[in-house]
Symmetry: D2
Subunit: 343 residues, 4 copies
């Protein structure tokens, strides 16, 4: 038996998403996001977030992040993000490409998070003289983080206030936004626009969709034209956008996204507990969402692998491994993982 | 009743494609095109084309075209294409974006086609002195063309020979490649690599898929690394690529793509005949694929619209309209269109 | 003896410019255009043009053009210019590079000029559907033109009015602006901001300077920040900018630039007359500035070359040659050229 | 009296350079670096470095650095440099602009220098999985450094060997190369190609020229075409390049450059000694070239300023100041500075 805890990217879609997808496949529909699914997105997300929201459906988180940042950052502007951020490490420079050579400035901080104080320190450290230096233009926060941790609403507010004081735009990479909201049991607004976030990459692919993400602008309708231009120009305006939009509508309908994320989070919590109770293995970070980073011996991990458990390790760190739980991880699979661990 | 002849982009997916899609939604699969569907693409397309073929699955034709051109053209290189080409008129500068500011040079020619002679003439007309001018780097042909016409194999060979003499790379935008092959009843190889085409944007979305295109390199394996970098960097490496690849495999399996395209072509031919027999309306171009451009009076077109027929007209040309037929256009729909026309 | 009529780019600097240059070489001066020469430019040019003018000194006309266009055109915007424009043919895509992949749209017209009507026609011909097409963003006029002809003030006004109606910015490539003003005997304002031109690449290198051009913005102070960023980012903010600025100040001081250009124009006029009187040779374009395009036989041109006359011909046109006169072309040289021609 | 120790960028040109400049201003010369000065550069620099050298004359160090890096780094490649490097902090992202969004990776190290070990560590820390991460493409070393220190030949060799093992290209930013060679009393080859450096931004503007730098490729003739394209496309191919090339030829003729740099270094050494002997002030870095970084009290610096001494301080560091000595700093000026310091 193979048990896959490598990544939520490797999960299939949830049944309700498939159903919506199949349902969208009826008859003709106008192309290029002028279909009746796409045209309902603004209203649906405005309802979900409780504020006028501009929605651009896209296929990947990378492009959602890149359009967002390129919409508010000139080529000579810099974007501050955590050193472990996906935009910094895992997108092959997509933000730089979309942004005409903008620069990312990594900010350090424990648990995959940075503080407003550390952000301030970095901004000051990168201040230069006039046109010779990059202009501090935007901040990007990842929620839940690359370490499986979560920013509290007040931490986000502090960061966004700091950004605002410097005239910087604010973006949240919400590839696992659902896991964060499900974990915090807050309203989506609480950790986004109410805390000062202007743009959100609302992830859905990892949590039950096939390939569906939404770039949201809160109260910045003037950015739509620019963002839509960039989407088209980067080849991301699908002719048959209805299939993406239909996924998104189904995903946020009746709390499905939070049900799926909550299930994943619970599996992670259960495994986290098992790790905590283990005599040798330990948790590298607090487990708040659907990812569990385990510190253990090389032998320990090899034993798991030998038992058919799949997970990821990093080059140069053979004492650390990541286990990701998704909407489709069954209780039985989690139980089996815990059982093998405890052996 | 509404009858939609606006665009094949507005068609739903074919049942067999949906079936393959659903089938791919079983269990987990490695992300980022390392799944078992994606990994079969090279072999499947190599078989279809009868030559070693490198395949990059992507979601849109625009990105397939853009990666292809950016893979072989430096920022100071130019790409020659027909004045009506999609890359010239309908991609908001995606080739220029991906290519770091490369330049498209439009070539004129009747029926949406240009000849090797006209290409030569344009290349010479744009020759400049050394580093001061753009370097002629690539040629892009659209097959079937934006006018619904088709290049004959020997026309393609002539263009590619000309390109080769200038050291230029050759690309085919095959957004409606299936319609061309079905119409010519040739082997796919005959109008691609055997005729000198090095890269093909193999379209599938318009002809039965949801969102699936393939960028093919014939015998240029060294371009794969560069092309994959550009795909990733532009946000087009889907995490769940299996869903695109599964569509592509089903699409070319057992000639499905040609069955679908053949059906669309036959509907177009039937309508073309009706137009030919009409006392006032006439065909703007020879109808060889699935698009019919009709020249008629404004009144005539309005009468069709009044009868619930949907089709596209262009700004400033109220005597010309386009009717597109797709895999899902039923015989009954075509018959109804012909009936209304003849009234 | 060698007589060089190849290009005004090949002329040395005028004595007064050299003198100012040497004079600037005294003691230290703050770097990066914060010296006392650079800081006088705004005032000096505002005086010359009779309107508040923002000045960026740079070293080449290509960069002046490119910064201007990139300051007002988004990557998905297009710039309309004459088919023979320097930005179109002789800058290896610098506007595209600086503008992140903007597109130039060539406009046709006799005598190196296009009309407002032809501009309108081209804009309409390139209109597309929403985000799929480039946005018409700017117009660029060359004065004097690449053919040695000159736009009349009312021709410029008509073009700029047309641009304004489309919300497009207006730029003039004035690589030979002095020749135009000297020829028209107008005020600099008459063919620039009063006629609707917002940005001027004010050329000086061809007409007496070493390497000095000025990018001027008329009444658009908000573009300075953006333009200065682009200048720095493209490596064009010289540390010792005083040497460029000192050239510019001397160049416009007391009408030197018009004296130099007037001299060049008179030499061209004299040769043009000789061509007109020649039994076989003829003028390809009206001669209004310092360039003379001669239509003649291959044998005729070879005879001139045999007599040590240097001039340029174009690939593929052996019946056409260009003779350029500069501030340093002596009366005797012109006389000798006329003499050889008449033999 | 004002004594300017702010920057060598603020110095005038040396008499011999002015003389060569004036001498070049005789008669006409072919444009665009086809003049007889520019055409001698390859030979002259090949002689100076004792190896076949390809030379591109340009006007600024920023563009020399940017063309070099863009010539060897794809948009998805990264360039490793010291955290304090000019390319990182003072060029407003010119390398990113020229390189289509390449990324700079800062490497830490004391005294403005990094070691091969630290470079290795950073490369490993930035290693990612395949196309998801930037590719390590180039290393850039500054000699002399931004801290006024100098890399020893063996330190450079170690870095270049490390780069070579990773398939990375090697570049040296030699804005103050002359100061380094004069200080080390080595041959130019010893700290460049013999140590593994493939490209050198050979600075001259700071050390006696008006605006003249040379980008050198050692034994990489195949990069010339690409580099020349980028130079043209960025607006840096001066029409009257003879004036830049004439400066460069005079600069390296008969050791002038080393005489000028040696003089500057001696002034710095003299001041450094004065600082060392001061009861309160101290040297922040070893003084090996022409820059002296002084650590002192705010009051101390204010007293110097009160005495008419000009120098630079940094935002947020009021206990640190930089004093730069140039070819034109007179013995008397240095003596006066030392005198004021000692008061």
């Amino acid at each position: 038996m193979e048990l896959n805890f490598r990544s939520d990217n490797e999960s299939p879609a949830a049944p309700a998403i498939l159903e919506a997808f199949v349902e969208a496949n009826q008859g003709t529909a106008w192309a290029y996001a002028e279909d009746r699914w796409s045209e309902r997105l603004d209203e649906a997300f405005s309802g979900l977030f409780g504020t006028p929201t501009t929605v651009l459906p896209v296929s990947t988180g990378t492009v959602a992040n890149s359009i967002a940042l390129a919409s508010v950052t000139p080529p000579w502007g810099s974007v501050y993000c955590h050193r472990n951020a996906h935009i910094q490490n895992d997108e092959c420079g997509a933000p730089e490409f979309f942004g005409g050579g903008l620069r990312l400035v990594p900010v350090d901080g424990p648990d995959g998070k940075f503080t407003a104080q550390e952000l301030e320190r970095q901004i000051r450290a990168n201040e230069g003289h006039g046109v010779h230096a990059y202009l501090a233009s935007a901040v990007s926060i990842t929620q839940s983080t690359e370490s499986g941790t979560i920013y509290q609403p007040e931490e986000i507010s502090a960061i966004c206030r700091s950004a605002e004081q410097h005239g910087m735009a604010t973006h949240m990479d919400g590839a696992r936004f659902g896991n964060a909201v499900a974990s915090l049991r807050c309203r989506p607004a609480d950790i986004t626009w109410r805390a000062g976030v202007q743009m959100l990459s609302f992830g859905a692919s990892k949590n039950g969709c096939f390939a569906a993400e939404a770039l949201l602008f809160f109260g910045k309708p003037e950015l739509r034209e620019r963002a839509e231009r960039i989407r088209k120009r980067s080849g991301h305006l699908l002719s048959k956008m209805r299939y993406v939009s239909a996924q998104l509508l189904a995903y946020i309908d009746d709390g499905l996204w939070l049900d799926l994320a909550g299930h994943a989070n619970r599996q992670a919590a259960r495994f986290a507990e098992a790790v905590s109770n283990h005599p040798e293995a330990s948790l590298e970070y607090t487990v708040s969402a659907n990812e569990v980073f385990v510190k253990w011996s090389r032998d320990g991990f090899q034993r798991l692998e030998g038992a058919g458990i799949q997970f990821l390790t990093w080059p140069g760190r053979d004492d650390l491994a990541r286990f990701v739980f998704s909407h489709c991880t069954s209780e039985a699979e989690t139980a089996e993982l815990c059982r093998v661990l405890a052996q």
